[in-house]
Amino acid sequence: MASNVSTKNTNNSNKNGSSSNSVISKLKNTFGLQQLIILIVLFLIYGLFAALSPAFRSGSTLTSIFDASYYVGFLALGVTFVIITAGIDLSIGTSMMCAAITGGVVYNQLHAPLWVALLVILAMATAVGCLNGFLVAKLKLPSFIATLGTMMITRGLSSILSNVQTETFPLRGTSDGWYKSIFRTSGDFPTGAIVLIGVAILCAIILNKTRTGRYIFAIGSNREATRLSGVNVVRSEAMAYIIAGFCAGLAGIAYAATYTTIMPGSGAGFEMDGIAAVVVGGTSLAGGVGSILGTLIGTFIMTVLKVGLPYLNLQPHYQIFITGFVVILAVYADIYRNRKKNQ
């Protein structure tokens, strides 16, 4: 994690120009502090639910939390890259469901083996990511508009490709049911948590240890300055959208494994769950700042709220209501931090 923090500090210190050593260490402390705080908030929310509801304190509830976190988690991990470039990707939710339903068509209607269908899901979502990258990085469309367009395209495409039919993936216990064990074994062990954390580590390495990752941070801080210093910004920026697309594909597989049935035209709104998790995790919508660990914690804050609130016998609309407050508070923290930084 130390490397993660230091990368951001490098960027910030670049921006601040002649910041002294003491300022750097101060920044370091505050960023470390922020992730620590949301981690504490996560545990406190969990503890609160556990204290209020005995039924919440069971292993099976923890499995439910993991089950609900996978697709949001993958979406959030991918879109973290885009948000760090100061862009947004609204298409991830529908693109994930479009890819998943395409996989279903390939499996059910074209009778391809299941592993082919799963690869099709990844390929489809990555292709949408490539399109987004092309539109935003190459053609310079505003990311909000470009991905709003691809959001509608993928939403319509899922209905077209599936002929407005629901696609059902194989059930557990059938000969092709093995893919469900990627995320939860028949003994209810949440193997998906390992997959999610594995992908998160991979994302952290790309973001902090590779040149592409550093360029993505730089583009978010100051795109023009990055371009002038000789960086191929088109390639790096497009890469962020492609990663978001690939992760949406992973989310599609996780969704199919967890929920089995994919409805045509669905997925609108999922992107907001993912973006909210990123924002709660402390990544700035202004770009240039962000961390994978924060996104992961943000994802679990969102899902613990989602799974936990019904244990207090609250109806779904209360969950959305309360989650909304969490998002607003998190965004305010982001704005507050930026204002402080610019002072």
């Binding site: 209020l52 089950d67 207090l312 779904p316 969490v326």
Partner: protein, 364 residues
């Protein structure tokens, strides 16, 4: 320093929010741990009037039986993932029993099996849990749609009997059925057809083997329409849009020998009402008009009944569905033997549409 204060505030606000919400309901969740006194109800919807009525019946039963009941449902009937999460939560709470109206049994099969392994009995209600693993669902409280279709046929027949006796040409009875694949709607259609055939054949003017059923392969019989003394014609629209429904209903109403039409759900009834406007008012309760009967409710259909366009309609009893679902769940939680319950239907017409008995069962 300021930053610390900010995060402190955020944190306190979070705690407060979650704490408040907990406080509201902590009294109702207090008795958990007792388990067999807790019943979880997972419905197919929440906002719709139909589900509100189901919930009120469920509440009543929970109160009478002295159990804690938690009623949840997804935002609409396509939100399968949302319902699955609700069912998972319900199972994790280890209640005495779960009442479930499944949106998609296949998607929920893992959760149903987990409930079975944990020894939590499941009670189906409304459309129940079709194709559930053996032994998981102990009993179902639902409408006997086949019988309900027959009730509509009986009322329709009583209204057209005199006309059959005096008519020179073979009378035609038309049906608009939204589709013939789903179990509930095809049972309502089939129940109507079978009962109507039986009633017509019992009429000495028509006689056995003289009623032709035409229009769809699923229900067609071997009687030749040209030699039949009465014809039942089933119309199934190409797709579930008001326009397609209207086309089929118009085709029925335009035939001069049609004396009765039946819409086997809200969609079918609506199709008849929409078509009637375009053919210039063929349906009604007065002499010489086509007798119309419907199923379910909805604003158009209730208006048609109040304005003497429709003879009457059959409605399910959502309050009883909720009541019986929870009652069965309580019994199952105690380990008692339970069996399926027909929650019954009610016939309503102009006279009782606003009565205390009928009004709560209808939705606009």
């Amino acid at each position: 320093m300021k930053k610390k204060i900010l995060f402190g505030t955020i944190f306190a606000a979070l705690l407060l929010l979650v704490g408040c919400s907990g406080g509201n309901s902590s009294s109702s969740s207090k008795s958990s741990g007792g388990n067999s006194k807790n019943i979880e109800v997972v419905a197919k919807g929440f906002q719709h009037d139909f589900w509100k009525a189901v919930q009120s019946g469920a509440k009543q039963a929970a109160k009478e039986q002295g159990v804690t009941m938690n009623f949840v449902g997804p935002k609409d009937e396509t939100a399968i993932a949302e319902q699955l999460e609700m069912l998972n939560n319900a199972v994790n709470k280890k209640p005495g029993a779960i009442a479930l109206a499944a949106l998609d049994t296949k998607a929920e099969i893992d959760a149903i099996k987990t409930a079975q392994e944990k020894g939590i009995p499941i009670i189906g209600f409304d459309s129940g849990v079709p194709n559930a693993p053996k032994g998981a669902v102990k009993a179902t409280a639902s409408t006997d749609n086949y019988k309900a279709g027959g009730i509509a046929a009986q009322h329709a027949y009583d209204a057209i009997k005199a006309r059959i006796d005096s008519s020179a040409t073979p009378p035609r009875i038309g049906i608009v059925s939204q589709e013939v694949n789903s179990l509930s709607i095809s049972q309502r259609t089939g129940g109507f057809i079978d009962k109507m055939v039986q009633l017509l054949e019992a009429n000495p003017k028509i006689g056995k083997g003289k009623v032709a059923v035409t229009g769809h392969d699923k229900f067609k019989n071997k009687v030749n329409a040209s030699s039949a003394k009465a014809i039942i014609e089933l119309r199934v629209p190409a797709d579930v849009t008001d326009a397609a429904g209207k086309t089929e209903a118009s085709a029925l109403l335009k035939k001069n020998d049609t004396i009765c039409v039946y819409g086997s759900n809200e969609f079918g009834a609506k199709a008849i009402i929409n078509a009637d406007d375009s053919v210039g008012g063929r349906i009604g309760n007065t002499e010489g008009k086509v007798v119309a009967v419907g199923f379910d409710s909805g604003k158009l259909q209730i208006n048609a009944i109040k304005s003497d366009k429709f003879l009457g309609s059959v409605t399910q009893n959502p309050i009883k569905i909720g009541y019986e679902a929870v009652s069965l769940a309580v019994k199952a939680a105690k380990g008692q033997k339970v069996k399926n319950i027909d929650t019954g239907v009610k016939w309503y017409n102009k006279d009782n549409v606003d009565s205390k008995e009928i009004k709560p069962l209808l939705y606009q």
